[in-house]
């Protein structure tokens, strides 16, 4: 009974918001020369945002409502559905929260509009990974779909990516992070230093890799390159021969019984590690935190070859105009103004404008999360639970240590279809 009421109210809510949106479009677009009295109207705007679960956080929607009055309707989907929806249902969303590699596929379809960086208040404060591509002037640009390569469009109405900053941004970065292998230090005797340790015979039957072809292949490539077996021109865009060689090495390891299991969902990776079925595996940062929250030691081990990084951002739907477009810019400026950034940093991710986020974090929090210093007090999650005890140091160290050591970015390959088939063969082998 309860559920039914919920469904009805949500439906009528959708209806209402659709009416508001339609009204707003009418009020702004249809009558030219209508005076700009939008600032107060923004409070009535509803923006429909969809994306993957990581950044579609209710806390953000609530705070946004409180600070701006804008209602955010969040829909969480998996990355594949996100990409499909952005391409096939352009009118079903106002704001797309997508990963950069998804953007590479989706933006050229023409359902999104680039953002005018002049209207973005904190544009200059965005971490340079997303603008020039270089974290520091000395950095080298990692392989794969590096965010800045798909971060700018050639012009206001262009669907082509520009190689340099043009003033028209495709996505405003939201969340990014550097991924590595997770280990159980209490069950491992020798030090783990390289990606190749995943296939070390001493971990036979105790290793795992994630079973999502586009990300799993990257981890596999890091392993093969670390073994010295393959030298890739670009791990983010392999040739069929490189895919074959990589999968051959992984298949040999699989048949030799190296892997205990393959995981597909976040909770599977947590359970495998917590139960001791697996002592070394590909892992995501919050999964490591979840294992530790059970009181089980787990380390997000930095490796010599560097990290596999990923990042997402929010982009605007093509159909946004007038009041709604203004509201969307307002939302983006608010997003970058610090509160959200601090919230995300406290979850162990990184935010786009770290300077503004700093103002919303305590000195101790900042030192722990961003500078890699030992925590002076207990470190709390955004919900107020103790995440790390006083005295701990973040695995991998500071922001610059971690994001400065990115070896490749999540990517989508030209040979994606081939990769998927080869990956399925590997699983069936």
């Amino acid at each position: 009974m309860k559920r039914k009421t919920g469904a009805t109210s949500r439906r009528s809510f959708l209806k209402n918001s659709a009416a508001i949106a339609a009204g707003a479009a009418l009020g702004s677009g249809a009558i030219p020369g209508f005076p700009a009295i939008w600032a107060q109207n923004i409070k009535n705007v509803t923006l429909r945002q969809f994306g993957t679960g990581v950044s579609n956080l209710n806390a953000i929607a609530e705070k946004c409502k409180e600070d701006l009055g804008i209602t955010l309707q969040m829909t969480a989907l998996d990355s594949d559905s996100v990409a499909q929806r952005a391409v096939t249902q352009p009118n079903s969303f106002d704001i797309a929260d997508i990963e950069y590699w998804v953007c590479k596929k989706v933006f050229p379809a023409g359902n999104m509009q680039p953002m005018d960086t002049k209207k973005i208040k904190y544009y200059d404060k965005i971490v340079p990974i997303f603008t020039s591509g270089k974290l520091t002037p000395q950095s080298t640009i990692a392989q794969g779909t590096a965010p800045h390569t798909v971060g700018f469009a050639k012009g206001k109405n262009s669907v082509e990516f520009a190689a340099e900053e043009t003033g028209w941004m495709t996505l405003i970065p939201t969340i990014y992070n550097a991924d590595t292998l997770g280990i159980r230090p209490d069950l491992i005797e020798k030090p783990v230093k390289n990606w190749r340790d995943l296939l070390d015979p001493s971990f036979k039957g105790k290793a795992s890799i994630l079973n999502i072809s586009s990300i799993g292949i990257m981890d596999a490539a890091m392993v093969c390159e670390s073994m010295g077996e393959i030298k890739y021109a670009d791990k983010g865009n392999m040739t069929t021969a490189e895919i074959d060689k990589t999968m051959a090495i992984m298949t040999v390891a699989k048949k030799a019984g190296q892997f205990r299991a393959f995981w597909k969902s976040f909770d599977e990776s947590v359970n495998l590690m917590a139960a001791g079925e697996v002592v070394i595996q590909s892992m995501w940062s919050p999964a490591v935190a979840a294992v530790r929250a059970k009181g089980i030691p787990c380390v997000y081990q930095p490796l010599e070859e560097g990290y596999r990084a990923w990042g997402g951002g929010i982009g605007l739907a093509k159909h946004l105009s007038g009041l709604e477009l203004d509201a969307a810019y307002e939302y983006i400026n608010w997003y970058l103004s610090g509160w959200v950034g601090a919230y995300l940093n406290r979850q162990g991710y990184y935010s786009a404008c770290i300077e503004t986020a700093k103002q919303h974090m305590s000195a101790d929090e900042w030192a722990f999360w961003m500078e890699g210093k030992p925590a002076k007090t207990d470190i709390l999650s955004p919900e107020g639970k103790v995440m790390e005890k006083a005295g701990t140091v973040r695995d991998g160290g500071s922001f610059y240590d971690r994001m400065g050591a990115v070896a490749c970015w999540n990517a989508v390959m030209d040979e994606n279809k081939y990769l998927v088939r080869k990956w399925n063969e590997f699983i069936a082998a």
């Binding site: 998996d78 096939t88 088939r421 399925n424 069936a428």
Partner: protein, 289 residues
């Protein structure tokens, strides 16, 4: 098919009577399957499915090594699970039907068999994982008792685990129809067999087994079709390390390759229909009805 022959063409009442079922079948069986068949000939790219008429989906499916490997694996599971559920199901049903004397006790024990079904089958399956794990209940007990020195690794994330979960999930589908067939056997036939000098084993082999064939047939159809179409049991219990036809399909759907998944579904449908047809050749299920 045959019963229709009895109706005369002018008999409108019969058509009206058969209409509701026909409409339901048309809407919920014929239309979806026709759609799947149509889509299986379409083309697709990263994000879209494109109406077309191409044979590529089938061509890749029928020439790929993976398809053969997955079918061999799936049929292997089906065969093992069938053999085990049949032996266990037959034994349980035989005990219930011939060794439990009073009807009350028969009903009580039969209900007892269904108790595991009061929880969801995903939960019944997942609960094996902590039990069979490396540091699970069974392994710690065995190591503690000194039966083994090292935890037994093959217990979880292996073919053993997959088959175990299947047998646990589906044995009741064998017990019920076999029990039902056994209860219909005229007891005087058994008496006659015993009077004629048959041993207990001969009674089972020559009297009970042939007469319970329809029940075995129905149970086998349930078990084989369920195992052939499964994807979640294999994925969870093998730790994602084994494949089945269902897993291949669910992977394709996740990657938005609907036409490939549809082609896979059509081939699986044909294979399963052939298997069911073969079973029906051996057993006349209609005797039961």
């Amino acid at each position: 098919m045959k019963p229709f022959a009895r109706f005369s063409p002018g008999d409108a009442t019969s058509y009206v009577q058969v209409a509701p079922l026909a409409v339901i079948f048309a809407l919920f069986l014929v239309v979806p399957i026709a759609t799947i068949i149509v889509v299986s000939f379409w083309d697709y790219d990263e994000f879209r499915i494109l109406p077309d008429f191409i044979w590529d989906n089938y061509l890749y499916l029928l020439t790929s090594k993976v398809t053969l490997a997955t079918y061999v694996n799936t049929v292997k599971y089906a065969a093992l699970v069938w053999a085990l559920t049949f032996s266990i199901g037959f034994t349980v049903a035989y005990f219930l039907a011939f060794h439990v004397r009073t009807q009350t006790w028969q009903i009580v024990l039969f209900v007892l068999c269904t108790i595991p079904f009061w929880t969801s089958n995903i939960i019944r399956m997942i609960s094996w994982i902590p039990f069979l794990g490396r540091n699970g209940l069974l392994n710690s007990t065995l190591v503690h008792l000194g039966v083994v020195d090292e935890p037994l690794e093959f217990l979880l994330f292996s073919d053993f685990a997959v088959v175990l979960a299947f047998v646990h999930l589906y044995t009741l589908f064998m017990v019920v129809p076999i029990f039902n067939s056994m209860m219909r056997i005229d007891r005087s036939l058994i008496e006659a067999a015993v009077d004629a000098g048959a041993s207990g084993w001969q009674v089972i082999r020559n009297v009970i087994l042939p007469l319970t064939k329809p029940g075995i047939g129905i149970g086998s159809i349930f078990v084989v079709t369920l195992v052939m179409g499964d994807f979640i049991t294999v994925r969870l219990m093998s730790g994602g390390q084994s494949s089945s036809v269902g897993i291949a399909m669910s992977n394709e759907i996740a990657l938005l390759q609907y036409p490939a998944a549809a082609a896979n579904a059509v081939v699986l449908l044909i294979v399963v229909l052939l298997m069911v047809a073969a079973m029906l050749r051996v057993v006349d299920v209609r005797k039961e009805l």
